[in-house]
């Protein structure tokens, strides 16, 4: 029997993997993908809550609606983020975060 905890465990694992990717990988595009992974980890936990908070045999649709919002925001974010990465690449000829370090003292 699959329980809510399993969903949440999988979601937490995904989130941790995503966060580790953001912290450890050097390529901006990979970091970006890791970010998407974190968003989807959140989606998974929302779906899990929706599924296990059923009333009268129906799942709680609030969670599912929120997932759609997140997907929409993620799509918009990808558009903007990729555009920034392309612009950065044009300016710097690199996608490595270590070369993008001018935002400091």
């Amino acid at each position: 029997m699959v329980t809510l905890n399993d969903y949440l465990f999988a979601s937490g694992l995904l989130f941790a993997i995503g966060f580790a990717g953001v912290l450890l990988r050097r390529n901006v595009i990979i970091i970006f993908m890791a970010l998407e992974l974190m968003l989807n980890a959140a989606n998974l936990s929302l779906i899990g809550f929706s599924r296990y908070n059923a009333h009268d045999g129906l799942p709680d649709y609030n969670g599912q609606v929120l997932v759609f919002f997140i997907i929409t925001v993620a799509a918009a974010e990808v558009t903007v983020g990729l555009a920034i990465i392309v612009a950065l690449f044009r300016a710097r000829q690199t996608t490595h975060v270590e070369d993008m370090n001018t935002l400091k003292f």
């Binding site: 953001v22 912290l23 970091i31 975060v97 993008m100 370090n101 001018t102 935002l103 400091k104």
Partner: protein, 596 residues
């Protein structure tokens, strides 16, 4: 309710307001309004003089426990003072019509006179300290306006400033004194204070301090040493103003106030001694300075100082009635002398140097004779008014040998410098072109002179004076004091007459007296020195304390904090992300487990 005191008080005020608001452009009308107002005050003062004692007041400001009341207190002192102020004031107003006939600021001048009368009458009528203080300040302000009347010349505004500042200095002490009295007794009304003050059980030191603080006010307003410097300079104002300020009103206010609040001084012998010696020092210094002045008005100014010193000394001797008696006689003959001097100055086209005068006996007979009467009254020649009142002061000092000698010396000096003034200015030959063409002043000026010379002649006789004032009775030997007074007068007058008879210029030169003991220079350098010192101290505080710690300190802390914190901005994107994540973890930890 008795309306007369209110009418006396507010008639000049209404006149001032009307002149300012409506008749500024009609100069003749303004002067008549002002004269009419003071005439109304005079008529009602006469009515009050024959009326009853009384007091009345209404609340002006009510702040719970603290109430400012406006009210009047009529008693013997008020009656006499009202008569002096409005009587002499009326004559001076009339005289001003002639004296200021060609002045273009006449409306402003008469407005100032009316305002001055209003303030002075307020002091006289006041039944409590607060009201007296308000009008006290108003007198200072209106005298400022009058002294600085010819503001387009350099000297009058400077003199006006000086008068105002010296007065403010004294008034500050006066205000402190009022606060001290109020805090000790809870009341500022003269009636309530006079009964209770000595029964409050205050320590002698406290009573002395309170009395001396109140005395500060009189020192400023009556121009006593060390604040006497403003009065001679106040001669820069028009001559009728000098007569008004010096004879019956402003400077007399200080003496009047001392007599009114004598109950504060009575229980403190130390305070009375200070009052006595301040008065005597002023009197002596001023008399010495007067002997070397060449300006006719300045001689009179110093003689005013000297006489005021005597009145103050009389209060200090515990004989306020003698002081008031002298104030009463002095008011008439000093106004007479100033108006006489004004008449001379007017006909000599503003020449004030006595060495440019001379030989005026034939050309200005009325001025000559009335001035002679005034002089004789001032130098205590029997039987003129000044003789009786000065003798009273002398007699009341017969237990205090140093004071007695000082007063006798002042009497001698007064006789000396006044006969010098009279001999040089009026007798002998005309010493300048202007004096040769002198002519008698118009009747509007000479009639007040004649009217004023009547009280200067007769006001001193005990049977006449007792109609107006309680002439002090003294035990001991009035004959002795009278003899001393007579000898001093005769010696002074004779030496003045023979030293200056037929002289073309001053035969004695004492620079110390001529330069007024260098008081102005001393004050000038003292003020410069203290000002420099203060400026240096505040400069140091500003540069090192304010700028150093507060301004630069605050800026430095902000800058330092920014400097330390900017090392966190490493520029590595992933470091930021890590810190962000760590922050979230910390926050979660505190939210979930921190409350336990």
């Amino acid at each position: 309710m008795n309306l007369s005191p209110w009418i006396i008080l507010f008639a000049p005020f209404v006149s001032a307001v009307v002149i300012v608001l409506f008749t500024e452009r009609f100069k003749k009308l303004s002067s008549y309004i002002s004269v009419a107002a003071v005439a109304i005050s005079f008529v009602f003062s006469v009515a009050v003089f024959f009326g009853q004692d009384g007091t009345a007041s209404f609340n002006w400001i009510d702040l719970g426990t603290f109430q400012v009341k406006i009210g009047y207190l009529i008693n013997d002192l008020t009656r006499l003072m009202l008569l002096i102020v409005t009587g002499v004031g009326l004559l001076i107003h009339i005289y001003s019509i002639g004296y200021m006939a060609e002045d273009r600021g006449r409306s402003r001048y008469f407005c100032g006179l009316s305002l001055f009368m209003f303030s002075m009458l307020g002091i006289v009528l006041a039944n409590n300290f607060i009201m007296m203080f308000i009008f006290w300040e108003l007198v200072g302000f209106s005298s400022y306006l009058l002294i600085g009347h010819w503001f387009y010349r350099p000297a009058p505004p400077a003199a006006a400033n000086k008068a105002f500042l010296a007065n403010r200095l004294g008034d500050f002490g006066f205000m402190l004194g009022i606060l001290v009295v109020w805090s000790a007794s809870g009341t500022v009304t003269f009636d309530e204070l006079s009964g209770h003050w000595s029964t409050l059980g205050l320590s002698p030191g406290f009573m002395t301090a309170a009395a001396l603080l109140i005395f500060c006010g009189a020192v400023g307003k009556s121009a006593q040493f060390p604040l006497h410097v403003w009065l001679p300079d106040a001669m820069e104002g028009p001559t009728p103003v000098s007569a008004l300020i010096h004879a019956a009103t402003m400077v007399a206010a200080g003496v009047f106030m001392l007599v009114r609040t004598y109950f504060l001084f009575e229980p403190s012998p130390t305070a009375l001694d200070v009052v006595l010696w301040i008065g005597l020092i002023t009197s002596l210094l001023a008399a010495l300075m007067a002997t070397q002045q060449d300006d006719i008005k300045r001689v009179l100014a110093y003689s005013t100082l000297s006489q005021l010193g005597l009145m103050i000394a009389a209060v200090g001797l515990g004989a306020p009635q003698a002081g008031m008696f002298h104030l009463f006689t002095h008011a008439s003959f000093k106004a007479l002398l100033f108006l006489g001097a004004g008449s001379v100055i007017h006909s000599l086209q503003n020449e004030q140097n006595i060495w440019q005068m001379g030989g005026l006996q034939k050309k200005m007979p009325v001025t000559f004779w009335t001035f002679l009467i005034g002089t004789l009254a001032l130098i205590a020649c029997p039987p003129f008014a000044g003789f009786w009142s000065k003798d009273d002061i002398l007699a009341s000092s017969d237990r205090n040998i140093p004071a007695f000698l000082a007063i006798a010396a002042v009497t001698y000096l007064t006789a000396f410098y006044m006969s010098r003034l009279f001999v040089v200015a009026f007798l002998g030959q005309a010493r300048s072109e202007l004096a040769r063409h002198a002519h008698e002043s118009p009747r509007v000026m000479t009639i007040p002179l004649i009217l004023l010379s009547i009280p200067a002649c007769i006001a001193g006789f005990p049977f006449i004076a007792s109609l107006f004032i309680k002439v002090p009775e003294h035990e001991g030997s009035p004959i002795g004091s009278m003899a001393v007074s007579l000898i001093a007068f005769a010696a002074g007058a004779a030496s003045g007459y023979y030293l200056y008879k037929e002289k073309a210029r001053d035969s004695i030169e004492i620079p110390l007296f001529e330069h007024k003991f260098y008081f102005d220079e001393m004050y000038g350098s003292l003020i410069k020195w203290t000002q420099d010192l203060l400026a240096n101290i505040s400069g140091f505080v500003d540069r090192w304390v304010i700028d150093g710690t507060v301004v630069r300190g605050l800026g430095g802390i902000t800058w330092g904090a920014g400097f330390a914190l900017r090392f966190l901005q490493v520029g590595n994107l992933q470091a930021y992300a890590f810190l962000f994540g760590a922050g979230v973890v910390l926050l979660l930890y505190f939210i979930l487990f921190g409350t336990k």
